[in-house]
C-alpha cells in the first residue's frame, strides 16, 4: 500500500458537525434584516445608508482594536457579531442622528457593551441596546427628534426637509392622537430608522424562525404578553388606552421581539427560560408604555431582563431524562450540590 497508514487526525467524537457556525448564524441574521434595512433607506434617504456603513466600520474597528489590546487575533472580528450590533444600533436610532453621536454609540456598544465583559458570548447586556441607552443620556435632544419618512430615496417631493413629528406612541400617550394602523405597519410615521414599517421586521423575523435561528417561544411569549396586557386595559377603558394591535406594531416592539430579545448571548438558553424572559419583558414594556415617564419601553424592558438572565438560566434547567425532579441543585448522594466548591 502506498497510501499513508499513520498520521491521521486524532480528535474526540463526534466526527461530524452541523453546518451552522457562529459566523453563519450572524451572517444569516444580517441577511434577514435586509428587507427592513432597504425599506429604511427608501423611507429616510441615502443618508441612512451612510449611517449603516459608518456604524459597521466603527463597530468592526472598535472590536478589532480592543481584541488586539486583549492579545487576541484582530481577525476574530470575522465572526460577524459586530456587524449585527452595528445594523441593529442604527435601526433603533432616529434618522437625523449625527454621525458623531452614532460613532460614540458604536464604540460604547462594542467596547462597553461587549468587549469589556470578555467579548462575544460573555456580555450580559445586548450591545446595541447598551449603545442606544448611552446615547439617550448623552444626546437627549437628538435621540428624541423624529422625522416622518420621505418616500423617494431622499428626494423631497415638496421641497421641504423632512417634517419632525412625535412618534405614534408619544402622540398617543401625551396628546391622545392615534396613528392609523396601516401607517404603523408600513412605516409612514415618525420613529427610529428601522422600527417604522413593522411588517418588514416581521418578514425578517419569520425567516429567522423558519431557519430556526431564533426561538418561537421568545417571540410568542413577549408579543403575547404585551398583547394580552394592553388588551385588558383597552377593554376596561377604551377611551384612555390604545388598542393592543396598535401596541404590537408601534415603536420598537417588533424589532425588540424578533431581534433583541432573541439575541442568543444575552437571553436564556432553555425554552422555558425564553418564555420567562418574554413574559418579564412584556410586562415591563406595558408598564413603561402605560405608566412610565417614557412613551416607549422596549429598550429598558430588554436590558432589565438581560440583567436577570443569568438567574433565569440557573433555575430553568430541564428535568433530566428519567430524573425525578428538575435541575441539578437537588442533593446528590453524598450531599454535594452544584453550589459547593464555588465559594
Amino acid at each position: 500500500m502506498s497510501a499513508p497508514t499513520e498520521g491521521f487526525i486524532l480528535t474526540s467524537s463526534p466526527h461530524d458537525s452541523a453546518a451552522d457556525t457562529t459566523q453563519r448564524i450572524m451572517f444569516a441574521v444580517v441577511l434577514t434584516l435586509l428587507p427592513a434595512v432597504v425599506m429604511s433607506v427608501f423611507y429616510f434617504g441615502l443618508r441612512v445608508l451612510g449611517l449603516y456603513l459608518l456604524a459597521i466600520v466603527t463597530c468592526l474597528l472598535t472590536e478589532s482594536l480592543t481584541r488586539r489590546a486583549r492579545g487576541r487575533s484582530p481577525w476574530s472580528i470575522a465572526d460577524g457579531s459586530a456587524v449585527v450590533t452595528a445594523v441593529l444600533l442604527v435601526m433603533v436610532l432616529p434618522p437625523r442622528i449625527s454621525p458623531i453621536a452614532l460613532m460614540v454609540g458604536c464604540v460604547v456598544a462594542v467596547f462597553l457593551g461587549k468587549e469589556v465583559f470578555g467579548g462575544i458570548g460573555c456580555n450580559v447586556f445586548n450591545p446595541a441596546l447598551v449603545g442606544r441607552a448611552f446615547l439617550s443620556a448623552a444626546y437627549p435632544v437628538q435621540i428624541t427628534t423624529w422625522t416622518v419618512p420621505n418616500r423617494v430615496f431622499g428626494f423631497l417631493p415638496q421641497g421641504i426637509d423632512a417634517r419632525t413629528q412625535a412618534t405614534p406612541l408619544a402622540a398617543a400617550r401625551f396628546e391622545g392622537i392615534y396613528e392609523a394602523l396601516p401607517n404603523l405597519v408600513f412605516g409612514q410615521i415618525g420613529g427610529s430608522i428601522g422600527e417604522t414599517g413593522s411588517v418588514f421586521i416581521v418578514v425578517g423575523g419569520l425567516a429567522m424562525l423558519a431557519l430556526k435561528l431564533i426561538r418561537w417561544e421568545m417571540v410568542v411569549s413577549l408579543l403575547g404578553t404585551v398583547f394580552v396586557l394592553t388588551g385588558v386595559f383597552y377593554l376596561a377603558d377604551p377611551i384612555n388606552y390604545v388598542s393592543p394591535v396598535f401596541h404590537l406594531f408601534a415603536g420598537g416592539l417588533m424589532l425588540g421581539a424578533f431581534y433583541m430579545a432573541t439575541d442568543m448571548v444575552t437571553t436564556p438558553y432553555t425554552r422555558i427560560g425564553n418564555v420567562i424572559f418574554g413574559l418579564g419583558a412584556g410586562i415591563l414594556v406595558v408598564v413603561i408604555r402605560l405608566f412610565g415617564g417614557y412613551p416607549e419601553g422596549v429598550m429598558f424592558a430588554i436590558l432589565l431582563m438581560n440583567a436577570v438572565t443569568p438567574i433565569i438560566n440557573r433555575y430553568s434547567d430541564y428535568r433530566v431524562f428519567g430524573a425525578e425532579r428538575a435541575g441539578g441543585r437537588s442533593r446528590s448522594a453524598d450531599g454535594a450540590t452544584e453550589r459547593k466548591g464555588t465559594q
Binding site: 497510501a3 497508514t5 487526525i9 442568543m264 459547593k340
Partner: protein, 439 residues
C-alpha cells in the same frame, strides 16, 4: 402505522447509500490474527492458550474473568505465535493473542448445524449458552450479554426490545443482517422467549430501512409461538441508544442513573441475536462479525464479514485500498466512534465500522454564544454547555450534581454546536476525573 420516536436528538447526514445495498462479503482468511483479550465492558478475559498452542475454530482461547467479563474463542485453525501488549482503539492497553493462521484448513472449515430441542430450553440453559458463546452487545457498547439477561432477584424481565435502529451514519452492517439473516434473527428471538416468556417483544427499525421492516415483519408473521411487534421509528440520532430506543418503542422511561432492567426491559442488538442463534443451532461462538468499511477515502465501500482479530490493514486491502488524502480514520461510526492514529488495530466484537474520511480537519473552538442548541438536542435533557464550562473550570462536583454521569456521549450536543466546542470531550474529561478521583 404511526411512526414513533424519542424526544430531541439530531439529524446527521446518513451517508449509508454507498453500502446499504451491498451484500455482506467474506474477507479472505487473514494470515495473522491479533485478538485482544479485552473486547467487552468489564474485566479483561484470561488467556488459556499460550505461545505454541494449536487452536481450532470455536476453541476457547480466553476465559471470562468473573461474572462481568466475556469468553473469547479462536475463529481459525492455527498456532498461538505470542501474546503482546498493544493499545485498544479507545486507547487503553490490552493483551493481544497473535495467531498464525492455517489458511487452507480454515478455508475448508464449515460449521455443522445441530438439532436443538427448543422446548427443552429453560432460562438457565439460554443464559449459560449466551455466556459460553462469549456474546457481547454488538451495537458498540460490548456489554456482556449474559449479564444483561441475569436480572437480580428483585427484578423481572418482561419486555425484550430489539435494536435494529443503526442510527450511526455510514454503518449498514445491521441493516444487511436484517435482510440477509432474518430467519436466524427470529430463531434467536424464539430461543430467548423460551427462557424468559416476555410479555412483549418489540423490534425497533428506523423507517429509512423499509426493506428491513418488510423482511422482519414477514419472518415474524411466520412464527406462531413468539409474538414479535415491529415498531417503525422516525429517523433520528441517537435512537439506537438503549434509553432512547425504549422510550421510542414503548414510551417507558428508564430512571436516571439506572439500567433498563430497572423497568424490566432488556435491549438486544440484532447482531447480538444472530450470534446467539449461531451458538445454539451451529455451535459457533462469537468469532466473526460484519463490519462496514466506508467513507470517501476507501476505494470500494463494503460490508465485510471478518474473523475477530483481523488486522484493519487486511480490511483495507479487501476494499481496494485507500484513495485520496485520508485525514481521519474512525473505528465505529462518526458520532461515537474513535479516531485512530494508525491502522495498527484489529476487528473486535464491537467493531461496527471502519471509516476513511478525506474532509476531516481540526477546527478550533470559538466562544460559547449560549445559543442553547446543545440543550435543545441533548436526548438526556442535560445542559451540555454548563457541564463543559464546569469541566473547563475544574468544578467537577458541580458538573456531577448536574447529572454528568447520565451523559452517554452520543455527541448530539457537539454536533449541533455552532461554536464547535468539544462538548463531549470536556464532559468525558470531567467524567474521567470524577471516576478516577472517586468524587
Amino acid at each position: 402505522m404511526p411512526v414513533r420516536t424519542f424526544k430531541k436528538g439530531v439529524h446527521p447526514h446518513d451517508h449509508k447509500e454507498r453500502t446499504a445495498s451491498s451484500a455482506v462479503e467474506d474477507t479472505p482468511v487473514p494470515a495473522l490474527l491479533r485478538i485482544p483479550v479485552s473486547q467487552h465492558l468489564g474485566k479483561p478475559a484470561l488467556p488459556v492458550k499460550g505461545r505454541g498452542d494449536e487452536v481450532v475454530p470455536g476453541e476457547l482461547i480466553c476465559d471470562a474473568d468473573g461474572f462481568v467479563s466475556a469468553r473469547v474463542h479462536s475463529p481459525v485453525y492455527g498456532k498461538v505465535k505470542r501474546i503482546v501488549q498493544q493499545p485498544l482503539p479507545a486507547g487503553r492497553m490490552s493483551d493481544y493473542i497473535e495467531i498464525e493462521v492455517n489458511v487452507e484448513e480454515t478455508q475448508a472449515h464449515e460449521w455443522q448445524r445441530r438439532d436443538v430441542d427448543l422446548d427443552a430450553l429453560d432460562r438457565k440453559a439460554v443464559v449459560d449458552g449466551i455466556r459460553d458463546a462469549g456474546v457481547v452487545g454488538m451495537g458498540g457498547a460490548t456489554f456482556p450479554t449474559h449479564v444483561k439477561f441475569s436480572p437480580p432477584p428483585t427484578a423481572e424481565i418482561d419486555t425484550l426490545v430489539i435494536n435494529g435502529v443503526e442510527c450511526e451514519p455510514y454503518l449498514t452492517c445491521d441493516h444487511r443482517l436484517m435482510l440477509e439473516r432474518t430467519t436466524e434473527l427470529v430463531e434467536a428471538i424464539r430461543i430467548l422467549h423460551r427462557g424468559f416468556s416476555f410479555k412483549r417483544i418489540l423490534f425497533g427499525i428506523e423507517s429509512n430501512k423499509p426493506d428491513a421492516i418488510e423482511a422482519v415483519s414477514t419472518a415474524a408473521a411466520g412464527v406462531s409461538d413468539t409474538p414479535i411487534e415491529i415498531v417503525p421509528l422516525k429517523v433520528k440520532y441517537p435512537q439506537g441508544a438503549e434509553k432512547m430506543l425504549i422510550y421510542a418503542a414503548n414510551g417507558r422511561t428508564v430512571p436516571a442513573g439506572k439500567l433498563p432492567l430497572e423497568i424490566g426491559v432488556v435491549v438486544a442488538n440484532v447482531f447480538t441475536l444472530v450470534a446467539i442463534e449461531d451458538w445454539f443451532f451451529w455451535g459457533k461462538p462469537l468469532v466473526d462479525r460484519v463490519i462496514t468499511v466506508s467513507g470517501d477515502g476507501i476505494k470500494e465501500a463494503r460490508n465485510l464479514r471478518a474473523p475477530i482479530g483481523t488486522p484493519f490493514s487486511d480490511l483495507v486491502d479487501g476494499c481496494g485500498g485507500i484513495v485520496g488524502d485520508v485525514t481521519k480514520v474512525i473505528a465505529g461510526g462518526p458520532m461515537m466512534g474513535v479516531a485512530l492514529p494508525t491502522l495498527d488495530y484489529s476487528v473486535t466484537k464491537g467493531s461496527s465500522g471502519l471509516l476513511f474520511l478525506t474532509n476531516a480537519e481540526v477546527v478550533d473552538e470559538s466562544p460559547c454564544i449560549r445559543c442553547g442548541r446543545c440543550v435543545d438536542v441533548c436526548p438526556m435533557n442535560l445542559m451540555p454547555l454548563k457541564l463543559a464550562a464546569y469541566a473547563r473550570a475544574g468544578k467537577f462536583l458541580e458538573a456531577r450534581a448536574l447529572h454528568l454521569n447520565d451523559c452517554f456521549e452520543c455527541g448530539s450536543c457537539a454536533y449541533a454546536c455552532p461554536a464547535r466546542i468539544k462538548l463531549v470531550a470536556w464532559i468525558r474529561y470531567a467524567k474521567n476525573y470524577v471516576r478516577v478521583h472517586k468524587l
